[in-house]
Symmetry: C2
Subunit: 261 residues, 2 copies
């Protein structure tokens, strides 16, 4: 039995039309599945209205005490529960979670070195409690994770959704054959960033090294590929990077995106 661990990015979350279509497609994916959603820009918009300014260092959001409250509200509440309600409306029995729920994803607050990221959590992979996630999956429920974890001491932490997705995929690979799918705004990893149809269908370690040497890979795709290889090397059967529109195709054998193996 294949389990699909599917991450959908902020660009889809931010666009009601894209989101509705994606959720309708996701609901039709057969078999066991998990959705992990990014946050999108709505947390920044609401933070701005509340007088809380988003701070970035090297493109990474700094999560101060006011900001962790905003993302807990927006990612864990507004975005997550709206997705759950919309999935219920299209016949998918979703249950919305953070990593604090059922202690599913313990994390440690990132240590302060040159940068103090604030309330950002790094997943403690070996402490992931996958039994509750399996309980839900085996009962026919579809867990929907927001990009939040906790430190076990009462503090919610902001955690990268791509990392949550790969951590869950790895942990589940002990019990199921897992396909991890990163949905984003491109059809896959592109050979030519200007050509949306230049999808590289297959990337293995050798091809990856060649693409790196050729300078083909953009900054945006590199962390996804690193997560992907980490997942494969840790037991995940297949990783796919593809367009949110192709989520149904990418849960069949006729994949449309980039397969990493």
């Amino acid at each position: 039995m294949m389990v699909y661990v599917i991450k959908v990015g902020g660009n889809v979350i931010d666009n009601p039309v894209l989101l509705e279509q994606f959720l309708a497609d996701f609901a039709k994916v057969q078999g066991k599945k998990i959705l992990i959603h990014g946050g999108g820009k709505i947390a920044t918009r609401i933070g701005d209205k509340l007088g809380i300014t988003a701070n970035y260092v090297d493109g990474r959001r700094i999560t101060d005490a006011a900001t962790i409250d905003v993302v807990t509200m927006v990612y864990g509440g507004l975005v997550n529960k709206q997705i759950v309600a919309k999935l219920q409306a299209v016949g998918c029995n979703a249950i919305g979670l953070t990593g604090a729920d059922a202690n599913s994803i313990p994390a440690s607050k990132r240590p302060v070195k040159e940068i103090d990221y604030g309330f950002v959590g790094d997943v403690v992979a070996e402490e992931l409690n996958i039994s509750s996630v399996k309980l839900l999956l085996d009962a026919g429920l579809t867990p929907v994770f927001s990009p939040l974890t906790h430190d076990g001491k009462g503090q919610i932490l902001n955690t990268n959704a791509d990392t949550i997705a790969s951590s869950l995929a790895i942990a589940l690979s002990g019990s199921y054959a897992v396909r991890l799918i990163y949905c984003f705004e491109k059809k896959g990893v592109l050979r030519n960033a200007a050509d949306d149809d230049s999808v590289i269908n297959l990337i293995n370690r050798d091809i990856y090294q060649t693409l790196l040497a050729e300078g083909v890979l953009t900054d945006g795709i590199l962390p996804k590929l690193q997560n992907a290889f980490n997942a494969i090397e840790s037991g995940v059967k297949e990783v796919l990077i593809g367009h949110a529109d192709d989520v149904r195709k990418n849960t069949t054998d006729a994949v449309a995106g980039t397969l990493i193996c």
Copy 2:
């Protein structure tokens, strides 16, 4: 095996010191348990900052489109996930839910008559999906419900926490012996509102009629008692009304509050 369905009100949610103590006590309650929390004033404070004014008609909040987003964020996100993280920190394996999650509490948008309450949901008792809640309880998890439901068509609805508590208690009474406990800021139903120690230890239908005739019951306690009698008549074994500080005592035989039977 007794299941405790425990509702804690907004006055505790609004006070960090009270909340921390309550959660520490709640975590120590032995056996299967469910927590239902009210919203408190934080939604109003955040709504105010966002420029969304709370409207009340006859003391009831009108939930317009902007307000349902605020309460979804605040009740379903901030309050619920902070409670879950804090319970995890004191050894209680909590999982935070709304009525949309696992389609646990379907509701219908209240029909517009003299007042349009907006996105307020009345629980559809006969459609409650208690199997997922039982699945979680039997796995040793503690469901924590925020006062939100959904209409099955993609819309989150604002629902009274007392009603959610009694609806869950009634639905669970088919499988377990259930004690429903309403925690609030008084030690129980008081004979004399000015005397905090004038707790009425036992109320049955006859005593209730007498108290009504005597004019002893305040407006605040009447809906709780009506919910309580409704629960008892629908199969719930015991209903207790008591102080949040007494939650541990009220899950033993040496109850400190008012027992309704």
